[in-house]
Symmetry: C2
Subunit: 348 residues, 2 copies
DNA sequence: TTGTACGCGTTATCAT
DNA sequence: ATGATAACGCGTACAA
């Protein structure tokens, strides 16, 4: 260190009393080594003698040094940040898949930048741009519908991209999910197989829910010859919407008896509650099938028949795929279908 | 631009086919201006002539340039990142308060780095360190219990800190929440006021829930002279746990009739369902009071009496406090108590 | 085992 | 209105 350096250091310290950030250089100075040695001590302690390692640790302890990951990211061109976009952070459907994703990635040293996109693809596009500016090392997207501009900037970023919660023939990169069309169709076959000949649906407005609903209706009609009544709404699914859905079907559409396929368990629960409030028996008068197999579905009274998707496995699979990518392993199957499973319970 | 610059550009392009990151310098070159001018055009367009602004926009469009926020953060010492720590990202109690927090912060140009801490303060400490290394401009913490090391590094970081979802006499910095002790006590007074003389509790193991429970029991006993039975568990609250809780109270503790205060609405709902499954009437035989006023509480059958906390307002207040801080406004009240409100419904 | 020199892609500070 | 130049704090050669 030159004399002028020392002086400038002293003056700058004197000038700015408020919380001067501790740097590796400062730690090194205190430990009597250079900045690089501190860097090495932190990234690979085996490359540093035990004696200097001890001094450096002391200096870190004394100064309360916290490495600056921003500078590290700029220098190494790796942010150790994964950006994840979900439709809603208050919807357990998505957060329960982000949770294991997060855990696996953190074990590998990554942090998750999580944002909610809402409904519109245009909003997603803006969020993708905002996230890309932080130079994430990979990105997780929910769903397969993205604007062309979004796809373009994603490809331009040159990072791994996982699309989850659906399947497609044309993924941007990696893909982990299941077929919503097949799910709806399977429920129709399940319901018809149980002998139901009248059916209705209660659905939220999101695109994947509608695909399940349509697949259900088409298949059910093909099997029974009967039209499927439907009650749709735009807002977020809730017990209230489920109750309103059944009321709508009964009061407005003249639905009398049969099975009702709901786009989520919470809606199904609402339908069950409304039925009971009206003195209708479940499943004798009205049978109910939900979607998602959330925690409560098995414990309502009666328990709700539903479609189980292993969201934890999905999140883990998405993370594993990324980790392999980072390790330079070529993935033989960039498209992973984790499937689904109908849980046959008392509500149907 | 010199001739050698051009050559080096050409060769570097030829050398590295895979996604050479577009820089401001590259955009400037294409637009015939310097890198600084591009920076200005982006941060404050009014400082650039309309003609060059047009050229720069063209160049950005043509190259697909995405600004590097990492470099920006390093240079400006502002990451425009807010780190938020919640006990669980799958628990709507917390995410519903993060949602408006997130929205307000994003409107002000900030992004949220969200992580879940789980139960242990030690885990929180590690997460805080990890987050601080990303140099967030502020941090949101859930709860008031932090390790001394955590408090130290937080203070050392010199950034605004908001602690939410509780109150304390000794905040690190800002604080937005309500008193869990007062909440429990109020429920006891409410229940005793309704004439209940026997009571029990069903509680999850988190520290704040236990504080509510204890305050309830103490006050109820003081008012009625009767001991309050309790059933506690460690796992996350669920319908299943609520059902098990009532079973436990009845089968193991001999609870016959009275009011049950649950640490969350989901538990209360479980208690209601188990009561109904046992042929008990709610509230005639067993009255139920929940906590949180989640969406479904008003729509179960019967609707659940509960304690409403305006989580959205809480998240917004926390964000507003930070925004004011960033604007240099001195906050007259660093401690904000948003209170709570008992929702008197059919279950009690 | 340790150090020197340089670059990462911006913003901030002066000039012009 | 625009440009040169110096930070920002760290990793990555390369050298010793």
């Amino acid at each position: 260190m030159s004399k002028t350096d020392m002086i400038s250091d002293i003056t700058s310290n004197a000038r700015k009393t408020p919380s001067r950030a501790v740097t590796m250089a400062a730690v090194g100075r205190m430990a009597g080594v250079s900045q690089v040695t501190v860097s090495r001590a932190l990234s690979d302690p085996s490359k540093v003698s035990s004696e200097t390692l001890r001094k450096i640790k002391e200096a870190i302890e004394a100064t309360g040094f916290v490495p600056n990951a921003i500078a590290g990211a700029l220098a190494s061109k790796r942010s150790m940040l994964i950006s994840a976009l979900v439709p809603s952070i208050t919807n357990i459907t998505y957060t329960s898949m982000i949770k294991p994703f997060n855990e696996v990635m953190r074990q590998n040293g990554y942090e998750i930048l999580l944002s909610e996109t809402g409904l519109a693809p245009d909003d997603e596009e803006k969020l993708i741009a905002a996230h890309l500016s932080r130079r994430p090392d990979a990105m997780l997207l929910t769903g397969m519908r993205h604007t062309v501009a979004a796809r373009r900037s994603l490809l331009g970023a040159g990072i791994p991209v996982v699309e989850v919660w659906d399947t497609t023939e044309t993924p941007i990169d990696l893909c982990v999910g299941f077929s919503h069309m097949e799910a709806g169709r399977s429920v129709a076959e399940f319901a018809a197989g149980k002998g139901y000949v009248r059916a209705a649906t209660v659905s939220a407005g999101d695109e994947r829910a509608l695909r399940r609903k349509n697949a259900f209706s088409d298949r059910f009609t093909a099997l029974t010859g009967n039209v499927v009544l439907e009650s749709n709404f735009e807002a977020q699914a809730s017990l209230a919407n489920g109750r309103a859905g059944l009321s709508d079907l009964i009061d407005q559409h003249g639905f009398g008896d049969g099975v009702i396929f709901c786009s989520s368990d919470i809606l199904a629960h609402g339908v069950v509650i409304e039925a009971q409030a009206r003195g209708l028996r479940v499943p004798e008068d009205i049978a109910v099938i939900g979607f998602g197999d959330q925690d409560f579905a098995a414990h309502t009274h009666p328990a709700i028949t539903t479609v189980r998707v292993d969201r934890e496995a999905l999140g883990r699979a998405a993370a594993d795929a990324l980790v392999q990518r980072f390790a330079g392993i070529d993935l033989t199957a960039p498209l992973i279908d984790i499937g689904f499973e109908i849980q046959d319970r008392a509500s149907s």
